[in-house]
Amino acid sequence: MREQTTGVDLAVELCGLTLETPLMPASGTLSREALGEVEGVYGAMLPKTTTPAARAGNPPPRVAETPAGMVNSIGLQNPGVERFLRDLDAYDVGVPVLVSVAGDTVADFRRLCERLSGDERISAIELNLSCPNVECGGQVFCAGPASVEEVVAASRAAVPGKPILAKLTNEGVVENARAAESAGADGLTIMNTLPALTVDARARKVLVRGGLSGPAIKPIALRAVYDVSNVVDVPVVGSGGVTSGTDVAEFMLAGATAVQVGTASFVRDPQEILHEFTTYLKENDLNAAELTGALHST
């Protein structure tokens, strides 16, 4: 239907799923209350990361503005996987639902994947291996290729019937991407927020120690998507600073099959981002799927 109204084909294939548009929300950036604002924009839904048990999250202040971006330290506040599953129907808007999971241990990831494995409402799982605001058991256990491989392999075995995507941080992204692919990941989300700090000089205190997002990090994310998609065969979902329709095109040209919109949805109407992307395709006489990786073949 969208194809008829716009004259261009926005659909892409991601890990065997057909997405009507290549856009999806980045985890933790679209509330149930805001679903009405994004009708028809996203080709897949991706609610906030769920964990085995409820997490209260970090004490405020949790957000601070920075030039062309923001630093957040939410701390994966969520009601735990059981409550998450009871509320999941709210995200059924007629497009595939991807579920983002996080844990402190390999066993946490395995148990979450087992729990979600039989749920027909869930089309794919995104392993959040890179939230900068949660210390994994006191260590950043998902920091290197060995632990990425271990988590992905355990998750892969626990959820044989659904695609899994590994969401990686920028640091060591190429090595970690190779490790995730060899352990059986069907796709990669590149990248998460970047570790960052804001300081309140007047109070002489740390304001927010967390993850930087927004347009400020876009060139870094683009580079990561470009480099990773050059060396892996699995599809890449681009994430990091996407703010406009042109940004969506840039990420796809750099190698992304689909693109996540996160912080930008706080300051823009996501409908406009899709509209700009559609206009870009029309002006260039292209369909969405034709963009992916075009920079690599030139």
């Binding site: 604002e37 004490p59 405020p60």
Partner: protein
Amino acid sequence: MKFHSVKVEEREVLGNYTLLHYRWEGPVDPGQFVMARTAGYPTTLDPFLARPFSFYDYDGEVASLLFEVRGRGTALLDLAPTIEVTAPLGKGFRIEPARGRVALLGGGIGVAPLKILGRYLDAMRVPYDVLLGFADAESAVVAKEFPGARVATMDGSAGTHGTVMDTTDTLRDYGALYACGPNPMLAAVKLAAGEDSLCQLSVEERMGCGNGSCNGCVVPVHGGGYIRSCVEGPVFPAEVLAW
């Protein structure tokens, strides 16, 4: 989040604060807020986030916002001929007319939502007193917008020397308390409220999105955990908050 570009119809300087007016159509509850900024993409990405402001007043045609210039975002708002605002957001004050005389307490820029609340109370014929506390006389200039208000200043340069709590010793006698200001003030109001009185607190928190998505603007709740002030608030029943 969807923003609407609106023309600033009038800008008034009230001591340290600025009051700006713009045309708006649609319902606004007292205590609700908007996210506001001068511009966004593609004009600028810096400042990046919009800022939350309670409605100061709304007469069905003209809405107004009261703010203090504290940084670059508010400095730009202070100058711009047009601004961008969201639709009204959040949950406002609960009004129970049968409770008799009520008190409206404002601390500093927390005076903002009390004007529109007073307008609604007037319409519902609920009698009320306004009690205001400020840092100094320059901030207290806005008190002239509240005829009959009792005023305190921290430096003693206007009204009673002290905080808003020093303007009265009869808070327990009111049927309801409505307060907006810094968290320590709201905690003091909660403590001073009568056991059976309605106590409604409007919190001031840093916000990212304003629509419940980022979980950035949370407040601690009784019994543990946090809830979002943009969606579940910004006005909360005092008993909900863990202060």
